[in-house]
Amino acid sequence: MILKSLSLLNFRNYLHLNLELPEGGALFYGVNGSGKTNLLESISYVLLGKSPRGAGVKDLVSVGERESFVKAVLTSGEQTRVQSIGFSRDKQLVITRDGETSTSLRALYGENRFVWFGPDDIQLITGSPEEKRRFIDITLSQVSPEYLAELMRYKKLIRERNALITGRFDSVLCDIYDHDLAQSMAAITAQRAHFFAEISSSVTSVYNQISGAESDVVVEFAPSLQLELPDEFELALKERRNRDREQGFTSIGPHRDSFRCKKDGRQIVGYGSQGQCRSSALALKIASTEYLTRDNHELILAVDDAFSDLDRTRREIFFDMIRTKGQLFVAVHSREELSYYDLPALSITQGKVVPYELG
């Protein structure tokens, strides 16, 4: 689905905003601090319930206010859907989809496809395994709400098992957790492995298009456990049990998975240049857009300062690549950029948005 309009109430520096959005997307133009990123962030929030900047609700609610609200009207062909997310400083959350309310973020997942390009994308190469898993999970959860449900179940089971092995131990209960965890681990690992198998060739080809040369950049899934069957996971957990009890946490499983980008057989991080890291991160992101749209869902893209450390030629190559992927919103800092992105521009000043007039 694509965004037809967006309404914000007390979201960051937007106290009140109603905005119609063009079908193909738009450029948000304004000086630093005007609220371009905030607007892109509100799109991410209403679609996925997440801030791509990792901000908590306290940062999102306007200063001096208690509650925020973001509403989106989405369309796909003849179909229209109204989706909203309301949240308060004391972490209450209400989601509505066509009038049905829910208090779980899971309610947002299923039909929308959204991808964020930002300066932090480079963390996909240089960042922690946790950052890397966040990328895997946010992509897979959109395509498969079952994956998200399994992941939530898994995380809860891990917390229970960790509490059990650090507290009063009970081997019967630990057996049950290990058995349930093993089912969950097998399902999550299989979905993640499948994801990397699907995107790996496109990561290579996107990278080559950017660099203008043939290279052998590859992305490799690095699971905590190279296993497939639930029984194998269960056995691994049992074998680790004593050590886990000493360490006080569950030391194996999908919550320790990662992935690596390699060039000429060596990890790009620590070996490649900053530009190569940036290009491979973007190649991963672009490959993920293909994964997100493989079931013919329309994609919404938000781009915030994602290409700034690339030269103009590469920036244009990237823009051409994502231009056709879906409805595209780009934060633009300079007039020069306005001219080479072929999209209608909206001018942003202090929480107000108006069509941009050349002059």
């Binding site: 179940r153 917390r159 229970e160 059990l164 009970d170 019967v172 209960l173 957790y177 349930d180």
Partner: protein
């Protein structure tokens, strides 16, 4: 506002599902009513707290050492239903269909919330099975992950007894339209389907 009203509102706010506004509304309402109503409430509260205790056998709330269900002669003492809390037992009692006895666990297993096996009445359950003529234990817990784990746990620790352990069926609820069932519910309904007419093929 006077200190006494404030204290009353603060006390009421400690009750479940009562927020600040409701607590104040209740406190002010009580002030406006006849004094007898306040006395009645106060007495009922204190009397309940003083008289009501846990049943020695099944751990539900009771005014006697053994509750009315456990002491009844009309119950089937070979069937025992394990429930999480007294409220669940009362719901089953209201339905009027169940004729067996109960055992109230006092919670479901969740180490991260501090609820381990020894904070539940599991040892007492085993003792009852050893000493009472129980032939079937029905696990009547809800559908949360913790309840599932607890059901599994109970079946494990009861393996040593020559009894049947069963659990409530899961799946479609009565009167539910198929088109409104989520995938998980449908999966369960299919897995736990019941044969209506058996065939030979």
């Amino acid at each position: 506002m006077t200190d006494s009203v404030q204290r009353l509102a603060a006390a009421l706010q400690k009750l479940p599902s009562v927020g600040e506004k409701s607590a104040w509304r209740m406190a002010l309402h009580l002030l406006e009513q006849d004094e007898a109503i306040s006395y009645e409430l106060a007495h009922a509260l204190v009397a309940a707290k003083q008289k009501v205790r846990r049943c020695d056998r099944c751990f539900t709330w009771s005014e006697t050492a053994i509750c009315s269900v456990c002491s009844s002669e009309n119950r089937d003492t070979t069937t025992l239903c394990v429930v999480e809390k007294p409220r669940d037992m009362w719901v089953l009692e209201q339905s009027g269909r169940y004729r067996g006895v109960y055992h109230v666990l006092g919670g479901v297993l969740s180490p991260m919330n501090g609820i381990t096996a020894d904070s539940l009445t599991l040892e007492e359950l085993r003792n009852r099975i050893s000493s009472e003529p129980i032939a079937e234990v029905i696990i009547g817990l809800g559908g949360s992950n913790e309840a599932e784990t607890t059901a599994h746990y109970i079946s494990r620790i009861l393996q040593e007894f020559p009894i049947t352990v069963s659990r409530f069926a899961r799946g479609l609820s009565a009167g539910m339209d198929l088109e409104y069932a989520d995938r998980f519910t449908l999966d369960q309904a299919l897995n736990e389907r019941r044969v209506i007419t058996g065939g030979y093929r």
